[in-house]
């Protein structure tokens, strides 16, 4: 696994000239290094492509949300009320922003899980950010996923595992 780090350092331009020349000789000599390079290229390219299309992680800071809106992405905001949110999504909306209001004054970060009707967490964001000034967790979901899913349960727990909020986001087409 050191190969991955070696390739990452090389790609990042962190090696001096001598180390770079040595690395390049190894790169063309050792199949393991070339395989690590191939994997890293795929992951790096995919992250760049996905970042251009939308958020990489579905829980946002206030600054990330501001940046998304400033970039012209068409978003629909919905706020939680007694654990429920409803999004009526017009056809031109790209991103549904679920604003989960919570009292999280005593924690720095939370885990956010997307939970199936059977109670199974099928997507988890570890150590997700809190929009502290607004005392909320901001969840982004692409409009087509929200519509395809219909009902989406979102569970917020602190890093000690205590459930701090349980929300149901329902989505329908406008």
């Amino acid at each position: 696994m050191k190969d991955l780090e070696a390739v990452a350092r090389y790609l990042g331009g962190e090696l001096d000239a001598e180390a770079e020349a040595t690395f390049e000789r190894h790169l063309f000599d050792e199949p393991e290094l070339a395989q690590a390079a191939a994997w890293l290229l795929h992951v790096g390219d995919a992250l760049v492509a996905h970042a251009a299309a939308g958020p990489l992680v579905p829980v946002l800071t206030s600054a990330e949300l501001d940046a998304i809106e400033a970039a012209g992405t068409r978003v629909l905001h919905c706020r939680s009320e007694n654990g429920s949110l409803h999004a009526t999504i017009p056809s031109d909306v790209e991103l549904v922003i679920a604003r989960l209001e919570l009292d999280l004054h005593d924690v720095e970060r939370v885990d956010v899980a997307f939970v199936s009707p059977a109670g199974v967490a099928y997507w988890m964001v570890h150590e997700a950010p809190i929009a502290r000034d607004r005392r909320e967790v901001i969840v982004a979901c692409s409009a087509h996923v929200a519509l395809a899913t219909g009902d989406l349960r979102i569970r917020v727990t602190d890093l000690d595992g205590r459930v701090r909020g349980d929300f149901l986001l329902t989505s329908t087409r406008a």
Partner: protein, 164 residues
């Protein structure tokens, strides 16, 4: 050309194309992929002509990559000078990559916040170690350790899936 030649050439591509790509990417950025392909063509032609053996191919391709990258850098410099003079800046489209998007993003979400930040800064923002260290208040060594652990976790998660 015989089927043995075909399988030899396929093996050469499988073995050295990633090395050529990472080399060219380092030197030329995203445009390096074309140079890597060109280097492989030069290598295969040399193999067919009997000018180089498979055993010699690694060193041969490294030399070809170096020459092509230098030539491309000279062409880029000339083109950039012309573009700056005559053409306004352009945006390039995102490349389609055959990788499981849901799995990658699911695995990324499972990293710690700091590890995620280091990965995104490295690959999306194109920041080097010292830049990341300064931005996150870490030492260079900590950035390297965090990045290595994150890559190992991402690699393992991508292979087995984020749900397991």
């Amino acid at each position: 050309m015989s089927s043995t030649d075909d399988s030899n050439e396929a093996a050469v591509c499988e073995r050295w194309l990633p090395a050529a790509r990472i080399f060219a990417r380092r030197r030329l950025g995203g445009a390096g992929d074309d140079v890597a392909q060109e280097a492989m063509l030069v290598g295969l032609r040399a193999l067919r002509a009997g000018e180089v053996s498979v055993d010699e191919m690694g060193a041969y391709l490294l030399g070809v990559c170096r020459n092509l990258a230098r030539a491309q850098q000279r062409r880029d410099a000339r083109r950039d000078a012309l573009l700056q003079r005559w053409v306004p800046p352009r945006m390039s489209g995102a490349e389609a990559i055959p990788i499981d998007r849901a799995r990658l993003l699911g695995c990324l979400s499972r990293l710690t916040a700091r590890a995620r930040d280091v990965v995104i800064r490295t690959f999306v923002n194109d920041e080097d170690g010292p830049e990341i260290a300064a931005a996150l208040g870490m030492t260079n060594t900590n950035v390297r350790v965090t990045r290595l652990r994150a890559l190992v976790m991402l690699h393992a998660c991508m292979n087995r899936g984020p749900d397991s």
